[in-house]
Symmetry: C2
Subunit: 145 residues, 2 copies
DNA sequence: AAATATAATTTAGCCTTCTTAACTATTTAG
DNA sequence: CTAAATAGTTAAGAAGGCTAAATTATATTT
């Protein structure tokens, strides 16, 4: 059981993919002039879909005051919109603007830009086998918590 | 060529693995009371091996003054040692203390802790095929820049 | 030996991000 | 209808992290 190379190999691969992905993502962050806080918030807002200020704060692990201030900056930069909720005028509906969505996608794209190079190093046959293997991983992975 | 599902599938998997890995890692950062800057620096110091203050700053993309101040805090927390270089007394040799190495390993461990759960969801046969596929990816991945 | 270069640090100041506490507006409960 | 709860904002202040510039100590060059 401890001889099963599955988990160690998976860790190796994650080590590799995190190294390239983070390098590219940090480079993107620098170039775009956005802080990791801002990019993280954009990602969370995307994940949450339409949501309130406090909810975002909870997901980021900060107070609603901090979330409000963070959103100020994102709104000012045109990345996020903040509108009154029609049914409850206390709450603000937060969402990404078109520009916010563009930045989100560009960040993800930058993070993954090394994969095309990787693909070039593989034969069709290797790619087929790897694709099949990864599809199993994705399916099972999405079943975790 | 655009029909090859390899890269899209790889992206899906990276999406999944980043989601779990980052969630666990951020949780670890909170629990350990260390900022992402500090953890990032620890990782870079580990990668560089024994190195000087300026060199760390370059890798982190900050001035040597900033690196020096960052190292102050890490030394104070007992995670990093800073000793005179025997051959050139201008330079300080920076390295992780035992506690620094412990934190590094704990962070990596936290990041990867979801993989055991994933392994439990797979048959031996699936694991074998996936392991073989990932070994190819790791080998080719390490050949990139 | 003197001048120059290099490595690290210290200082002062700026900007960001966070927290707590006070405040406004709105909704819900009694 | 009033009291309490909820959502968000604002203000003041602390902490972190950055830079540029000055400073110290050591090495290297001439």
């Amino acid at each position: 059981m401890s001889l099963d190379p599955f988990v160690p190999t998976l860790k190796e691969w994650i080590e590799v993919s995190m190294r390239y992905s983070m390098r590219n993502f940090l480079h993107f962050a620098r170039e775009s002039g956005l802080s990791m806080s801002h990019l993280g918030a954009i990602y969370h807002i995307h994940q949450l879909g339409s949501c309130g200020v406090t909810e975002i704060g909870e997901h980021l692990g900060v107070t609603s005051a901090a979330a409000s201030q963070l959103l100020d900056r994102l709104v000012q930069q045109g990345l996020v919109h903040r509108t009154e909720h029609p049914d409850d005028r206390r709450v603000k509906q937060i969402g990404l603007t078109e520009e916010g969505q563009r930045i989100l996608k560009a960040g993800i794209q930058a993070r993954e830009s090394w994969l095309d190079q990787l693909a070039e190093k593989l034969s069709s046959d290797e790619k087929d086998r790897i694709t099949a293997a990864l599809q199993v991983l994705v399916a099972k992975g999405n079943q975790l918590g």
